[in-house]
């Protein structure tokens, strides 16, 4: 791939370079002259670039936007140390002789030394091996002063010292970015005005950038220092001003130095100077360079639409009219494009701009669209509205994995929300409680081709994380199929034909008079043979040659993350068929449910009085047992668990006993509720909820925990003031014996909420921690790629793995990480 920029070199600017790249010397502290024009020689000198519209740059002649800006410079009256290099200056002072300025080591010794500058800095020698001069102690006084043998040495003396260090020494010290004396500034580059533009407020008052403010202060002090030197002011005044100049130059580079007071704006806000601009999440690097804002994007609320394909996204017309795709006018499309241009920007399949081959760009308006349509010729480029079938990229934050950004084909729709198929909710982790998503439109044919081939939803059905389908039927889809494939479901010919046709399969005609639900489902299966355990676990699902023989379709067959059927179809017949399968099967399920109906009410979870009593009996029994354990504990004959204290053992025993209640309550509730109750259907098929939830509603809520233990927090020696001090009983430590349906007592409710609150805190803490871990992991591994020779290498070209994953198998193409071994 040919690149415009081959490499970037980092160096230190020499005074000469600073002067050469500058277009003006800046000496005046005033920004504007009396007429309000930028003052010559001032910090806003017009030679440094333009920021006002309509003006031309005095240096390059370009106008705003195209003039990159030009540097100026300030001649510092006295040299100052560059703060960011203070450490290096210190190292150099300690590593070289104060008299002859040679390194404080024999030549041969230096030869073998690793990182000599650092090593010599660590051990300051007493005597110079070259000139035998005694070495005084060099001490650093934060932030940027140095003493030699207790006496201050100023930057000018340091600069003279460094000038004397030979080039060979510099090379040995690995300071190849420039001469050491350049670390002490004599000239200060003034950044161009384009990078510190001033804004004009409504009151036509100018508000300057922080850097400009800083520069003005700096010039003032510089000027004062120069004046004082000229009139021969006493040394202490000059030294004070020099120190002040150093302070201003230092804070100009970095306004967040330890032991240096921050430079502040008049309002008291700390100034954002150079280092602050680069640093951190919103800084130049992470905020503007590694992550950029883009055009041709949109964002709105999402809502579901089961009738569009998983490959599609419903785009509101309003957005479709705003976002365009450039299309070159050719012989074969001139007709269509003409009609688009004729429609203008306000009618949907229209166009917004027209570019002539000579680069002239014209905005299409409702008034001129007819005229422009007439003038349209081949070679022009029309920026047309997006239309049905255009490739778009769809994204939901947080973008945790690559399935968070997938390509969808646009489908223009009325309304104001993005519509998406429910099967793609899982990879995006989206729901419709107000979630918003972003849509981007790739602008070049290359980008569109790539998006279509690699990023299209159907190409991402198999997750690279575990080699299984990450998309699949959810919630009602699953319940519907579970009900449909029940043993005794039968339709007459008409009903069956209707179901199948309405689910998008139009080439099947039913001939037999009665059709079972399984036969209807089989109509959507390709020719596959598979057998697997279902989620409900009663009967194995068996499919032979595309005919469903037994079992019921549920989460394990078509769900996301597990879908065995989806997986098999994708592997055998490819993504296209898998997509069709998901589309039609999910629609079939909903069509069936629309006819059958699926609702849930509280009475679905009514259990018989006997069961209720049975559960309450178990609860009482367990509480009794727990009390027995507590009594045992008090008498000191509790069974101690190895590795635990007596108290911990008691807790473990109680927890285990109370946990048993929960399990047996599950069984009682599960045995009592009718199989065809909607709630049970949802739980058994894996559509939503489980037996635990059902038994919490109908049976008993059970033990609430905090930090993995029974609840112990609260008042002194007790959780709530209605309990005795030091009471150990289940009810005093968060055991909820009621069911949700019967209602909770106030203290039970309180414990439940404590548990819920812990969950919330846990989630918010976790997202932060794992987010940072992801950033670090991605940063560390992002350069690794599979090379043409099949090895995995990093950016140093060092081989990390000879075969990726030891066997060269891509989990994204495997069957749960394995190579499939199959007869067909």
């Amino acid at each position: 791939m040919p690149h415009k920029i081959q490499s970037i070199e980092f160096n230190i600017l020499s005074p000469q370079q600073i002067k050469e790249m500058a277009v003006a010397e800046i000496t005046e502290p005033d920004l504007y002259d009396k007429s309000g024009y930028p003052a010559e020689g001032g910090v806003m000198d017009p030679r440094m670039g333009v920021i006002d519209p309509g003006m031309k740059c005095r240096t390059c002649g370009s106008s705003i936007g195209s003039c990159p800006g030009h540097f100026g410079y300030i001649d510092l009256s006295r040299p100052v140390i560059h703060v960011r290099y203070v450490k290096t200056v210190y190292k150099l002072l300690r590593a070289t002789c104060q008299d002859c300025h040679k390194p404080l080591a024999e030549d041969e010794e230096l030869e073998d030394m690793e990182d000599p500058l650092y090593n010599l800095y660590l051990k300051k020698r007493k005597k110079c091996p070259h000139c035998d001069a005694e070495q005084d102690k060099v001490k650093r006084q934060r932030p940027h002063n140095f003493t030699l043998g207790g006496k201050d040495i100023n930057p000018r003396e340091i600069r003279e010292w460094f000038e004397d260090i030979s080039d060979e020494t510099v090379e040995k010290f690995e300071l190849e970015g420039g001469r050491p004396e350049w670390l002490i500034l004599t000239l200060l580059p003034v950044p161009p005005v384009t990078m510190r533009p001033s804004i004009t407020l409504e009151s036509s008052q100018r508000s300057e950038d922080d850097l400009t403010h800083k520069l003005v202060d700096l010039i003032r002090i510089n000027q004062r220092l120069a004046d004082n030197i000229e009139i021969g002011a006493p040394d202490f005044i000059i030294d004070d001003l020099w120190e002040l100049l150093q302070y201003h130059v230092s804070t100009f580079f970095d306004n967040n130095l330890s032991s240096v007071p921050q430079a502040r704006h008049r309002s008291g806000r700390a100034l954002k100077t150079l280092a602050q601009r680069l640093k951190g999440k919103e800084g130049r690097f992470r905020g503007n360079l590694a992550g950029k804002r883009v055009d041709f994007s949109s964002r709105t609320v999402i809502s579901p639409d089961p009738n569009i394909s998983i490959n599609e996204v419903g785009v509101p017309e309003q957005i479709a009219k705003e976002i365009t795709i450039p299309e070159k006018v050719r012989e074969d499309n001139i007709k269509e494009l003409k009609s688009l241009v004729k429609n203008g920007p306000d009618r949907h399949p229209g166009a917004n701009y027209l570019t002539r081959p000579d680069g002239g760009k014209k905005k299409i308006t409702p008034d001129n669209c007819e005229k422009i349509a007439e003038e349209l010729e081949t070679g022009f480029t029309v920026e047309r509205h997006i239309q049905d079938g255009d490739i778009t990229l769809f994204n939901r934050q947080p973008s945790l994995h690559r399935m968070s950004l997938m390509a969808h084909r646009a489908r223009i729709m009325p309304g104001k929300t993005f519509r998406l198929n429910l099967c793609v909710c899982d990879p995006y982790n989206a729901d419709f409680d107000g979630d918003e998503m972003n849509l981007h439109v790739p602008q070049t044919p290359e980008a569109r081709a790539e998006a279509e081939e690699l990023m299209l939803v159907q190409e991402n059905i198999r997750s690279p994380r575990f080699g299984g389908p990450i998309m699949g039927c959810t919630q009602d889809h699953v319940s519907g199929l579970y009900l449909l494939t029940k043993e005794d479901v039968e339709f007459d010919r008409k009903e069956a034909q209707e179901l199948i046709t309405q689910s998008g399969k139009e080439d099947v005609s039913i001939s037999s008079e009665t059709v079972t639900g399984r036969e209807v489902f089989s109509a959507f299966l390709p020719d596959i043979t598979i057998a697997f355990e279902s989620e409900s676990g009663k009967e194995k699902v068996i499919i032979e040659d595309g005919e469903m023989k037994q079992g019921r379709i549920d989460e394990a067959a078509v769900g996301s993350f597990s879908g065995k059927l989806t997986e098999k179809i994708q592997r055998k017949y490819g993504s296209e068929r898998a997509k069709d399968f998901l589309n039609s099967v999910s629609r079939l399920s909903l069509e069936y449910l629309n006819r059958r109906g699926l609702t849930m009410s509280v009475s679905d979870l009514d259990i018989t009085d006997e069961s209720h009593e049975e559960i309450q009996g178990m609860v009482i029994e367990a509480e009794e047992d727990a009390k027995g354990l507590i009594d045992d504990f008090k008498e000191g004959d509790i069974e101690q668990i190895p590795g635990q204290t007596v108290e911990e053992s008691l807790e473990s025993h109680i927890n285990r006993r109370l946990g048993q209640v929960q399990n047996s309550a599950n069984d009682v509730v599960g045995g009592d509720l009718p199989e065809d109750s909607s709630a049970v259907v949802m739980a058994k098929s894996g559509a939503r909820g489980g037996m635990v939830q059902l038994s919490q509603i109908a049976g008993v809520v059970g033990q609430q925990t905090l930090e993995g233990e029974r609840i112990h927090r609260g008042y002194k020696q007790r959780t709530l003031s209605l309990f005795e001090r030091d009471e150990l009983s289940p009810e005093a430590h968060g055991f909820v014996r009621s069911s949700f349906k019967s209602g909770l007592s106030p203290e039970e409710f309180y414990f439940l909420v404590m548990n819920g609150r812990e969950g919330l805190m846990d989630t918010s803490l976790r997202t932060r921690k794992s987010g940072y871990m992801e950033r670090r992991l991605v940063n560390a591994l992002q350069d690794l790629k599979v090379e043409a020779d099949g090895t995995v290498r990093d950016n140093r070209k060092v081989i990390v793995q000879f075969k990726p994953g030891e066997d060269g198998v891509d989990p994204a193409k495997s069957k749960q990480g394995e190579v499939p071994i199959e007869m067909e």
């Binding site: 980092f10 575990f466 940063n779 599979v786």
Partner: protein, 382 residues
């Protein structure tokens, strides 16, 4: 028919695991030769389809595959491993972060100690566990007293736990009397008496002495606070809290070929970098799988390999892999931006712009995947 031979002969290029699975499958279904050959051919084809394509951004995929499910992990630090019995070990997200960080000191270091055949009984395992677990004086004392009249400290010994641990009273005394000390320990009717050498000792010093004696090491290996005997699939092993792999390996009855520590750095010190890599892989993958999350091993493998390619462990982060990158811009865009830039300028570094972020920064195509190659079209060939 010898399936194994058939497989060896027909498919050299297949990975070992696939080959053994092939053989198993053939044996299970008792295939004829023709069927076996067909199966082999199918599998070879399937293997070719499963291979990685050049240019795949394998690093980012692995990183995301690990951290995406990490959002669903529990934050709870402790969990009692193995029902009510066992050792409390850091789990979930904190443990994963700890591994990836290559921490010098991990929160709950632990070892899996396997036993030689001769010790494959509960008693044998307990015996070894007692040798490993550090026993301090305070573990065998039921009561301690300071006799103010005679200025001595008295301890009542817990005979039951002494028996359990396999210590006799004499051993306790002799252990207490080891090394430099300011007292003499002696036994007096089931009691241990600590007599200070100094006659006129103050009560405060006596108190200090008592605490010191309580902390005295009696048996086992220092640093191992717990050793729990467990049985899995009929095999007895010991799980410990606290590690000292080097010493444990020398304990009689311990199988040194299988015993491992959960601390990658310790594994590196004792067994070398490959063992360390395998520890990162195993621990990392187990941590994720224990949470009921499904992540392919290969992803953690790549992380482990990246952390150990250079022959020493490097953390994932500022002080490790990310901080040692060749590219200035890549380092600067991660953390401590300004320092990386100034240091690069002093050294006169050159950024060759040969990987991802650098090229994003300067708006050029990234040399990964489709960006590695360019298609050219020559209309004249038609």
């Amino acid at each position: 028919m010898d399936y194994e031979e058939k497989v060896d002969e027909m498919c050299e290029e297949l990975p070992e695991k696939v080959r053994s699975r092939l053989v198993d499958r053939m044996e299970d279904e008792d295939l004829s030769e023709a069927e076996a050959e067909e199966l082999i051919e199918n599998t070879k084809e399937a293997y070719d389809k499963c291979k990685f394509e050049p240019g795949e951004a394998i690093g980012v995929v692995s990183a995301q595959s690990i951290s995406e499910p990490a959002t669903q992990m529990t934050m709870r630090t402790y969990h009692v491993a193995g029902s009510a019995q066992g050792v409390e070990i850091t789990q979930g997200l904190p443990r994963l972060i700890e591994i990836v960080d290559a921490r010098k000191t991990i929160k709950t270091p632990s070892m899996d100690v396997y036993l030689k055949d001769d010790y494959q009984t509960e008693e044998g395992a307990r015996e070894v566990a007692n040798e490993i677990r550090e026993t301090k004086m305070l573990d065998v004392v039921t009561e301690d007293r300071i006799d103010l009249l005679n200025l001595v400290v008295e301890f009542d010994l817990d005979t039951d736990s002494l028996d359990n641990i396999g210590l006799s009273e004499e051993e306790v005394i002799s252990n207490l009397n080891k090394g430099r000390r300011k007292y003499e320990a002696e036994s007096e009717d089931g009691m241990v008496k600590i007599v200070p050498k100094e006659d006129d000792i103050s009560v405060r010093d006596l108190q200090k002495m008592k605490n010191k004696v309580m902390d005295k090491h009696l048996k086992g290996i220092k640093g191992i606070s717990q050793a729990v005997v467990t049985e899995t699939d009929g095999e007895w092993s010991i799980q410990t809290l606290g590690t000292n792999l080097k010493k444990v390996l020398k304990v009689e009855g311990v199988d040194p070929t299988r015993t491992v520590s959960g601390d990658p750095r310790e594994m590196q010190k004792v067994f070398g970098i490959e063992a360390c890599r395998n520890t990162i892989l195993k621990e990392g993958h187990e941590t994720i799988m224990e949470q009921g999350l499904d992540v392919d091993v290969r992803h953690m493998m790549l992380v482990a390999d990246t952390m150990t390619v250079d022959g020493e462990i490097k953390a994932i982060g500022r002080y490790g892999v990310a901080g040692e990158k060749g590219s200035v811009l890549a380092r600067a865009s991660f953390e401590v931006t300004v320092r990386h830039l100034t240091e690069a300028s002093i050294k006169g570094e050159v950024d060759e712009l040969n990987s991802t972020v650098e090229n994003v920064i300067i708006n050029q195509t990234v040399p990964v995947g489709t960006g590695m190659y360019e298609v050219s079209y020559n209309p004249q060939t038609e």
